[in-house]
Each structure stands twice: as C-alpha cells, then as structure tokens.
Chain length 335, copies 2
DNA sequence: CTGTTAGCGCCTTCAC
DNA sequence: GTGAAGGCGCTAACAG
C-alpha cells in the first residue's frame, strides 16, 4: 500500500496539514520541519494520490481523445503528438475509438465525461451527421478541440489541414504534367475535410478549363472497400482516364496493383497520387507520390490548444490550419 | 456541473445514504423511494462520480498500457484489442509509450502506478535490459501482463506469439523452395521474441544440414536504420544470397526496393519474406510473403488475462501463446 | 509556523 | 426502511 500524508504525519508527530504544506512548498513552514518531512517522504517513496487530488480540485489532469480508429496510421500518429504535449504538461491521455460508429462515439463522449476528463480532443466518425452529442459538450462548456474530421457547423476550436489548397495543388500538378482525365477518389462528403478536398479538385479543373466529369468522382469511404469494383469500371471508361488521386495510400497502391494487372503502366498510362505519405510509399513500385498529411503536428497542435483552453476558459475559439505537402515521386511523373 | 447524490437527496428530502442505496440497488429500500430517486436521477442525468468511487474503493477501473511506440502498427492494433476487452468490462485504458527508451519506460511505470491503475499491460522497449523497474511492479503485487516483447527472467503472466515455430516454418519454407543462402534480419537480441525467432531460423537450417553463415545474420533494430548499408553488403557477398527473411514488412519492402535497383529480381534471384502482414503487403510488387502476427488477438488476450488477475489476485501466472501464420505470396515463390 | 475543522462525492457501518 | 456519522487522501480556511 502506498504511504499517505497521514502516515508521514503520524511518524513525525505532525498534523497532516503541516505535512501537506511541506510537500507543496507552502511559504508558511519552518525549514527544518520541511526538510524532515521531505526526507521521510522520500524514504517511504511517498507519491501523492491523484484521485484524492482530483476529487478536491475537480481536475483530473486527463485529456480525453475520441478518434475513429486507433489502428489507422494517421490517428495513431496524431495520438503520439497529443501524448507528447500532454506528458510534458503533466497530463494523462485517455483514448476511445468510435470504430467509425456514431453510436459508439456518443457512448465515448459519455464515458469520457463521466471520467471527468479536463478536456476533449475529437475527430468524428464517418457516420457522424447528427451532431447533438457534440453540441452538448460545448453547451456544458467542456474544453474541446476538434481535429482533422471536424464539423463545420460547430462553433469550436479546430485543427485542420489545408485540405482545399493541397487538393488544388495536387490536381494542378497532375494537370500541368499533361493529365486531362483525372479521377478523384473522394471520402464521405459529410466530413469537412473530404468536402474541402473535393472542392479543391473541382476548382483546379475549373482554373484550367477542364470540364468536371462526374463519373470520375468516386464517393468512397476510407476503408478501401469496393476499390476493385470502381477501379475496374474506371479503367473501362472511354475516353480512358489518365490520372487517379486516391483518398489514401492504401487505396492508391491497391489501385496501382489493379492497373498493373491490366497491363497498363504507372505513370506512363495512368498517374497515381495517394494521401498520407505512409512510410511504405517511397519504396513502392513505382514510388508513390503522396500528400504528406501532418498527423503528428496536428495531434500536437490539438493538445496545445486544448491545454490553453483548459487553463483559460474564456479563450475565444480558434481554427489552426496545418500545412500539408505534396511529395512528388515516380508514380505521377510527366508522361 | 454534474448533479451529485446530495443534490438528489436535497430535492427529495431524503438522506444521501438513502439515495445511494436506491442507486446501488440495495435490498433495504422501499420500492416507492427507490422509484422516486431513480426517476429524479434520470431527469437530472445523474452520473456517479468515478473519482469519488475510486477514492473509496481503491479501484480506478483503469488499465495502464506501456508500449514502445503508439504509431507502430503492431502496437496500435494490439491497443485496439486491449480497448475492446477493457471497454466491454467497464474499464478505461491509459496508454504510455516509452519511445523505445528504458528511462521513459521507468517513468511510465511510475506515472501509471501513481495514477493508481488497477493493472498493467507491458511490452518492453528495445533498450530494456535492466529490469529492476519491472521486477518492482511484481513485488508490489500490481496485476501485470507482459506481451510480445516479454522478459524471460520475469516470473509473470505473458502473452507471446509462437516466434520460434513461425521462424522455423518460414525458414523451412524458403529452404524447401530451393533457397540455400538465407539472410535473417534479426531484431535486438535482448528481446525475447527476437531471440526466439533467431533460434527458429538456426534450428531450421540445422534440420536441413545447412551451415549457418554468421555473415547472413543481421542484428538490426526495428526501425529500419541502416537497411541500405547492410543490404548492399549482403548483395555483394559471394556466393550470392538467395533469400532474405526480414524483421518486418517495412524493412522487407525497402530491401526489395534496393534489390530491384540492382537489376536483380524478386523472387527469381532472391526471395523475400516480411513480418507483420501489413495491409500493403498484398498489393506490393511482387506481393509480399509475410508472417501474420496476431496483434489484435494478442492485445485481447493480454487484457483478458489482466482482468482475470485483477479479479483474482491469487491466480497463478501463465503464459499464453498465440499462433502466427505464414502468408505465402509471390515474393517467395519457388524459383 | 502549526493544528483544527471541514469538505470534495460516495459508501458503509451503526443506530433508530 | 431510513438517517447520522465517519472515512477514503488531500487541501484550504480559520485559529491560534
């Protein structure tokens, strides 16, 4: 059993308050008593009980995190970022994953609020359309930061990537290297970042006076279900497609795999660009061009903002945009 | 502010004890009172304060997890497994990552114990040789389960993959498909699972009367540092190597990348097998043979065992072995 | 400078 | 059946 303040007090014939004061560096305390207490505390390996502290101070020093899936690399990297900032500020992190389900997401919110976390960092599930459960958090004035998959209609602090810009730039890259029939594999359109990316794509085509062929826009989810089905239909189109901008790297490599099976060449026949710049992208054959999505930085930014909001409840909400980069590799070179 | 038992008591002109009894389904309580309390509790959306409960019951219903890195896919999948079991048993999970540093690992142990978690699930850092800090946990009788990277000398409950067997089988697969000069990229040898894999490799060679060429055993870390350096030396060896069994898929594809740059062919000239069976393995060119390491199942098993040990302190320690599978794809076909 | 008292939210004797 | 009292570990206001 861990020693308590009481144990120390008893042994030293002091009151618990005195011991508490010694331990917390209170000014009103005699040097010798303090030394005595500290010495014994060290000897007994005294560790303050954070639960008792939480009960008293109504602060748990725990940040709650809700993400769609722990094992999606973007989110696991974001978590690393959150952890880093949290740890350096003396906070713990409690993570729940919604498994892309609104229902579970609702439960997660409840669970974390019940646990009395000091604040929340949330990236919504792809099912999330109704956002009452999220609005309620804000009503309760629980400090909250949304990141990546945010809700436009929610007035809250947010951390996002520059989805529009990067999708625009990537599409532009494909156009300026000679592509005209560019497929866009878009994510669920209830998600802010998916919508923004699609806008960027459309805008780039517009700038170069290319007409938008709606058949070239695929509304997928992130999982890569049906990749085979839609890729095959795409490859059957006339006139043929000459570029594919995929929702993520996993999808991109699966598409490349299918393209190769058809005896077509990447990038000669079809250029492919992915999203996330996973570590394997550079070693793929051909090396995969990809948008470097700053997961770690986004996690860090979210945690930093959250801590600020916890420290100062009156801080106005803000939106932080993290820059993405297009990493051009062989899969999208000029043909 | 969340309503408390006191709030309910006041409104109903009852004592807090009565309300508490009503809420906890105590037998000594009049049905009507109970109904009244429950009704108001629901109306106020009363949620018991787990912190107060923890303080009293000395149980936090939190499992602590220490892993080397959140963003390594094996561990993020394992975490999913832990979460799933924990959630279904009403537990929360608190995750710390050691970033492969013993020092941070020590701090993590301290942090989680200070947080009064009910138990620990640990996979050690690759730096971990001295295990005093881990032994201390067991001395303190904190329920603990080690998984994957376990310490042989620690008498504790463990969850491991059948590293020896699967390395043996994989090596055998390479031998029986005609390979004779098989490179083994081994992990840090202070780690139990790395050692076991190497043993499996050696044993398989022995069975087929192949001599072990120590130059073909690479002692790497998991990160894939120096891959380029050692791969180039390997490719320069005489007689030439004809197979490489890599420590993980990331390393495997980087090696394949380097092999191709040399105008050598996989699998014709050199067969390559990876470890972890990441999702991209199937789409790689050539599709990568890989050992399917059951991360999710290991996480689940660890959590299940831990919960059992929490519920029953006298439970003897045990070791659970989870079966791995070799997924054979084109990168290691017979030449 | 130090001790006493009270209370965070809850549960659990012990009375009645 | 129900209420009052006490305590989990800690801190803070109030006395001295």
């Amino acid at each position: 059993m861990n020693p308590t303040i009481k144990d120390i007090a008893r042994r030293l014939n002091l009151s618990t308050s005195t011991v508490s004061r010694a331990l917390t560096d209170h000014p009103d305390i005699k040097k010798e008593t303090k030394a005595l207490v500290l010495q014994l505390a060290r000897k007994l390996d005294y560790q303050p009980n954070p639960i008792a502290l939480s009960l008293k101070q109504k602060r748990t020093h725990i940040l709650g995190v809700i993400i769609p899936e722990t094992s999606i690399s973007f989110f696991s990297k974001a978590i690393s970022g959150v952890q880093e900032i949290a740890a350096s500020a003396g906070y713990q992190v409690m993570i729940c994953s919604s498994h892309e389900s609104v229902e579970i997401e609702k439960q997660n919110v409840q669970t974390l609020l019940n646990s009395r976390v000091d604040g929340l960092i949330i990236s919504v599930s792809k099912e999330t359309r109704n956002i009452e459960h999220l609005a309620k958090i804000l009503d309760k004035r629980v400090p909250t930061v949304f990141f990546d998959r945010v809700c436009e209609s929610l007035h809250a602090t947010k951390v996002v990537a520059d989805n529009f810009t990067i999708a625009f730039k990537t599409t532009e890259h494909l156009i300026t290297t000679g592509r005209k029939r560019i497929v866009f594999v878009a994510g669920p359109q209830n998600l802010y970042n998916s919508r923004k990316r699609l806008e960027g794509y459309r805008e780039a085509l517009k700038k170069y006076n290319l007409t938008v062929d709606e058949r070239l826009i695929i509304y997928s989810n992130y999982e890569g279900e049906n990749v085979k089905t839609y890729t095959e239909s795409l490859l059957a189109l006339k006139p043929p497609v000459d570029a594919i901008f995929a929702i993520n790297d996993r999808t991109a490599i699966e598409i490349i795999h299918l393209i190769k099976q058809r005896q077509l060449k990447v990038p000669e026949d079809i250029a492919v660009v992915g999203f996330n710049n996973e570590r394997f992208a550079a070693f793929f054959d051909p090396p995969l061009s990809s948008v470097d999505h700053p997961a770690f930085e986004m996690g860090k930014a979210a945690a930093e903002l959250l801590l600020q909001h916890i420290d100062n409840a009156k801080l106005p909400t803000q939106k932080r945009v993290i820059k993405s980069d297009l990493i051009i590799r062989a899969s999208s070179f000029k043909n």
